[in-house]
Symmetry: C2
């Protein structure tokens, strides 16, 4: 595709006119058309790993950005101190209320920049340009922004949706294979909970998706974005439809924390969490064996994933600390069939631990 | 009033069922009846100066608070580091999503605790117990929370209204006279912009108010809260009716910053800003001389206030940096008559500087 060709992206609205997701190959070279700033001025912030893509976005802006800042990658960089660094740089650059940030990078970059945008002058506009599969399928969509606290992930944050989200599958070219595959778990998860046709198409295209074939990838990413946008629009906060997105996350969060966030990628932990949820879903919701097998087949294809921690005492403690555990017990999202999930309040910690003990992806 | 007597407070809703302001003498001894927590559990945070009142609130809680923390007073304490300290203590205490904070103190305490509540787990409930005239008349009402940044006041923050606001005039007993008087400027301001009857009553009661007479004070504070609640309900963010609350603030903010936040209290700077706005209002909106005289008379009674900085170059630079200046020019709020104000977009920085050069309260 040439740099000047019209990208004809998919346009996916989120929450009415609040956010718009654009999905298309070669989109970054035309970023200026899709990014939103009330003043027309942008503050550009890219993660170190995403630098080539940040440069592409910069070249496509209508004018030189007010700020051009590179921030560190990785969960340890997701701190309040990083937000303060961004605030310092933005104020030094003369940011005003009607300017807009652009975050280029993975979930860490969009979470940190989105949170900085949320609190600067009590909220300035921002845009997300995710350059990882995890960011494209999940982190950049829905308005949740946050940084970590010593006590846990995402404990300090805000709801502050980006105005535009630019998903350009070509920016995945530089993503390491392990991150590429782990992030796709979230994309397939979206299909499994709410779009059986997408799940079938993407499952059949798995070899092409793993080979980073642009059109197969675009179909999956646009489909996953549509699912998430639909659930988020129905339920801007966290109490209803949106909870279905937590499929695989109740146990997944505990597995991720038990490993100290270093050993398992988020998507890998979610893959194990889904494996456990399949067993409970078969018993409790009559999930057909064929559907469970198809999900497992895709997870195997995305893997192999590192073995998860299985110490029941450690996992039990972490399950009870879950952010969503407080008011509702340790709820779970179960699969009735591919394309249809439901929240089950009565899944006990014991059931999760039992499933964790025997879960397998082989 | 005995500790067990029914306080019969005024009940003032803000923004529908979002917040409720309660105004009444002896309210703190019954705080447990009015404070709101979804879980029934509270995290109590009081400023050092408000400690006697925090103890009264603690004694009135339904059970021992999950956290009982004292924080520093004064603008220099209004930092992101203070928010992090609160977050650390709250997580260490085991805070969960459905718990609620209670902030006891002046505007600094309610701003810092409210902002911490806004970002912990993306928002937990909080309650405000202002113990200064500035907090009761202004800071605790309306949902604006923030901390300062080296570049200016309130530059990092969130909209996050407290569930309940408890205004107990008896908690003003320990407030130093200078703070007491400066805070009342905001209470009178509310009357001047939107409630002529209140302005007349409170003006006539000024000697009793200055003597901290409970019933005169309660009438003014409840009336000011009603004005602010009404404007905030009409306009939750910042673009419409709520802007009338900025009467005296365009120049006031510049005067406060020019003095380095040490020399003038916020209310004192607003008093000078109102003095300047009166001159412009007479010329531009036909504010009657009698009304201007009545306002000035009250400001004189609340003072004398320290002389403001008048260096035009310094003030001009600060006026252009006003948070609200960006999109709209240096707008101003002018008085048409006592009880009726309007936003005037076309007031130039030059007009403010001219008025600042000659303003007087004598």
């Amino acid at each position: 595709m040439s740099g000047s060709a019209e990208p004809r992206p998919d346009r996916i609205p989120v929450g009415g006119e609040q956010s718009t997701i654009w999905v298309g190959e070669g989109l970054l070279e035309h970023a200026g058309r899709y990014l939103v700033s009330p003043s027309g001025r942008f503050l550009l912030i890219g993660s170190a790993a995403a630098r080539p893509w940040t440069e592409r976005v910069r070249a496509a802006l209508p004018s030189a950005p007010l700020l051009d800042l590179t921030i560190a990658d990785g969960e340890p960089a997701k701190t309040l101190a990083a937000v303060e660094t961004i605030a310092d740089a933005a104020f030094a650059a003369g940011v005003q209320r009607d300017d807009a940030f652009v975050a280029v990078g993975g979930g860490v970059a969009t979470d940190v920049v989105g949170f900085a945008a949320a609190i600067l002058m009590r909220g300035v506009a921002w845009n997300a340009v995710p350059t990882t599969t995890a960011g494209m399928a999940d982190a950049a969509i829905g308005g949740k922004t946050a940084v970590n606290h010593a006590r846990g992930k995402n404990l300090l944050g805000a709801f502050h949706p980006p105005r535009a989200i630019l998903v350009d599958p070509s920016s995945l070219a530089t993503l390491p294979d392990r991150d590429y595959r782990a992030g796709l778990v979230e994309a397939f998860k979206a299909a499994w909970i709410a779009d059986g046709d997408l799940a079938a198409r993407a499952g059949a295209s798995l070899p092409r998706i793993l080979a980073r074939d642009p059109s197969a990838l675009r179909d999956l990413l646009a489909g996953a974005a549509r699912v998430k946008a639909g659930l988020v629009t129905e339920d801007a906060r966290d109490d209803g439809a949106r909870r279905l997105l937590n499929f695989g996350h109740t146990l997944g969060h505990a597995l991720e924390a038990a490993g100290g966030y270093g050993s398992l990628r988020h998507g890998e932990a979610v893959a194990w969490g889904i494996a456990a949820a399949l067993a409970i879903s078969r018993r409790r919701c009559g999930l057909p064996d064929a559907d469970a097998g198809a999900v497992r087949e895709v997870l195997r294809g995305l893997g192999p994933f590192p073995e998860p921690p299985r110490d029941p005492a450690r996992l039990a403690a972490l399950l009870s600390r879950d952010k969503k555990a407080s008011a509702r017990g340790t709820a779970g999202v179960l699969l009735e069939r591919i394309g249809r999930a439901r929240v089950e309040e009565s899944v006990s910690a014991e059931e999760w631990l039992e499933a964790a003990a025997i879960m397998t992806l082989s």
